[in-house]
């Protein structure tokens, strides 16, 4: 297993570059920020102290917080990338309950506060590759999904894990408007879900998640296309057979159950060989399993990845 040397300092401990290069802009913004705080409209994000470093973190430069919070695919809150930042603003994420159920010995309901206590929080700087051929680098916060699955104790019959997002009709787009079925559902094979890279994510950039990035708790599966990393999870269900997944139901030919990042298997309508890293001018080659092949390729030994795309 390739273990990259982790960065010496946590991303959250240093001033983001965008801030120090724009010192004047930052200073000019202070009065406005102060006013916003006084009006009680300050960001609801809270710091997540004591994040441990992770050997899984990349040393690549993370994208700006601004980019990651204003370029979102979160169809419940609009199908244009700039819409979720606005439409998810009043998303109620507290109180929150995640139900763990199905083929488990110990089903349970977890509040957000309970989730924070399941395992020590780590900062994991992952590459994130969207099926639309763009990519970002994000310092997520959370712990391996396996931690909560182990707590639930899957029965021998459990073979897959099904996930479900929150759906609040009226506050979110209808299925007809978005063109995909809600509530959004995703799934992993149990061994994929147990892989230490699969992250149950409760924060980013050292803070709790903003609504448009999947608050309060989401999945991050860095070797798969972004849509597998389901947002705003309310249900985790251990099941015996492959669960339905939203984009696969919408268009099975274009979006497979596995959806591993693979530069050799094109989307029917566009190439997956290259990607545009946000903030870069030229496209860069896409890496097999998004560069996590050393860790995860063994999960797919003997599988025809062209067939199981």
């Amino acid at each position: 297993m390739l273990i990259r040397k982790p960065a010496e300092i946590l991303y959250s401990e240093v001033t983001p570059k965008a801030v120090y290069v724009n010192r004047r802009k930052f200073l000019a913004g202070i009065p406005a920020a102060f006013l916003a705080m006084r009006a009680g409209r300050a960001l609801a994000a809270t710091k997540l102290p004591g994040l441990a470093k992770s050997p899984f973190s990349t040393t690549e430069k993370p994208n700006s917080f601004e980019d990651v919070t204003h370029y979102n695919n979160f169809y419940e809150f609009g199908t244009q990338k700039d819409q979720p930042a606005v439409m998810a603003r009043n998303f109620q994420t507290s109180p929150w309950t995640v139900t763990v159920e199905g083929e488990v010995a110990k089903p349970g309901k977890y509040s957000f506060e309970d989730l924070l206590k399941v395992a020590p929080l780590e900062e994991r700087i992952y590459r994130h590759r969207c099926v639309e051929a763009w990519s970002i680098v994000v310092p997520w916060a959370g712990y391996s999904l396996s931690a909560i699955l182990k707590l639930a104790q899957p029965t021998p019959k459990a073979k897959f894990v099904a996930f479900e997002s929150a759906y609040q009709p009226g506050k979110m787009l209808s299925s007809g408007q978005a063109g995909i079925e809600f509530p959004y559902v995703e799934g992993l094979r149990l061994d994929e879900a147990m892989h230490p890279l699969a992250l149950l994510c409760v924060g980013m950039y050292g803070e709790t998640l903003p609504p448009q990035d999947g608050a309060p708790v989401r999945l991050v599966v860095p070797w798969k296309y972004g849509f597998k990393s389901i947002k705003s999870i309310v249900k985790i269900r251990l099941v015996t057979s492959q669960p339905p997944t939203t984009w696969n139901k919408s268009n099975a030919r274009e979006y497979g159950f596995y959806s591993n990042v693979n530069p050799n298997v094109d989307h029917p309508r566009w190439s997956q060989a290259t990607e545009r890293r946000l903030g870069e001018f030229r496209k860069r080659p896409t890496l097999m399993f998004n560069g996590y092949g050393d860790q995860v390729a063994s999960l797919y030994t003997g599988m025809d990845l062209k067939k199981y795309y």
Binding site: E66, Y75, T79, K81, A178, G179, I180, G279, K283
Partner: protein
């Protein structure tokens, strides 16, 4: 100055306004996290809007009773070609970086690119023959027949748009409806003309006023 000449000036400025707006956004770093995608969509959107505007001139002349609108059709059509060229340039430069091999592969393999490319190519002869000299050389009838290619461009442009979105097809369907309406109007006018035993409607030729088709 010829009567209505100043309106042409206004139309010209309006035609440049989207580009100016795009430039302003770029200058102020307001193109978002993926500026190249934004530029691609922006120029594509305006190409389609201007194609629709060009196609709307003939029906609007009749329905509103303002035959003078014809004066601005060429300019609007050329602006459609202009934004189409920018859209195409964005693709070959910022998306493909002039990698001809990659582009040829793309155009052959990906239906939405093939369709968009065809729509653009069909506009080229129309832009070239948009001058008075070319109308003379080709003769009104033949010129007009050639310029019906824009019907194909409009349809292909909508298909291009429809095929490129992932799931939310509301906007592509809206454009499809508008284009269908504009082409349907022509079909209706043509059928009507045939029933009356007269040649199909020829919008650029002065002729007897007809009752509006609703």
């Amino acid at each position: 100055m010829r009567k209505g000449g100043w309106i042409k000036g206004v139309v010209f400025c309006l035609g440049l306004a989207p580009l100016a707006w795009l430039g302003w956004l770029g200058w102020h770093d307001r193109l978002g996290a993926n500026p190249i995608e934004r530029i691609t969509h922006f120029t594509g959107d305006w190409t389609l809007r201007l194609i629709v505007a060009t196609l709307a001139i003939t029906p609007l002349r009749k329905l509103l009773g303002i035959p003078a609108l014809i004066r601005y059709r060429r300019m609007i059509g050329l602006f459609a070609f202009f934004y189409g060229s920018l859209h195409f340039l964005t693709y070959i430069w910022l998306d493909k970086f002039f990698d001809l091999h990659d582009m040829v592969k793309d155009i052959g393999k990906r239906p939405f690119i093939t369709v968009g490319f065809t729509a653009f190519v069909l506009l080229i002869p129309l832009a070239v023959t948009s001058t008075a000299g070319w109308i003379r050389r080709l003769g009104g009838k033949r010129w007009q027949r050639l310029h019906r290619l824009i019907y194909a461009t409009a349809a292909l442009a909508v298909v291009h748009y429809y095929w490129l979105v992932k799931s939310d097809v509301r906007l592509p369907l809206f454009y499809a409806a508008v284009v269908a309406l504009l082409l349907g109007y022509r079909l209706a006018a043509w059928l009507r003309g045939r029933r009356k035993g007269r040649p199909a409607s020829t919008p650029t030729r002065p002729r007897q006023p007809q009752p509006a088709i609703g």
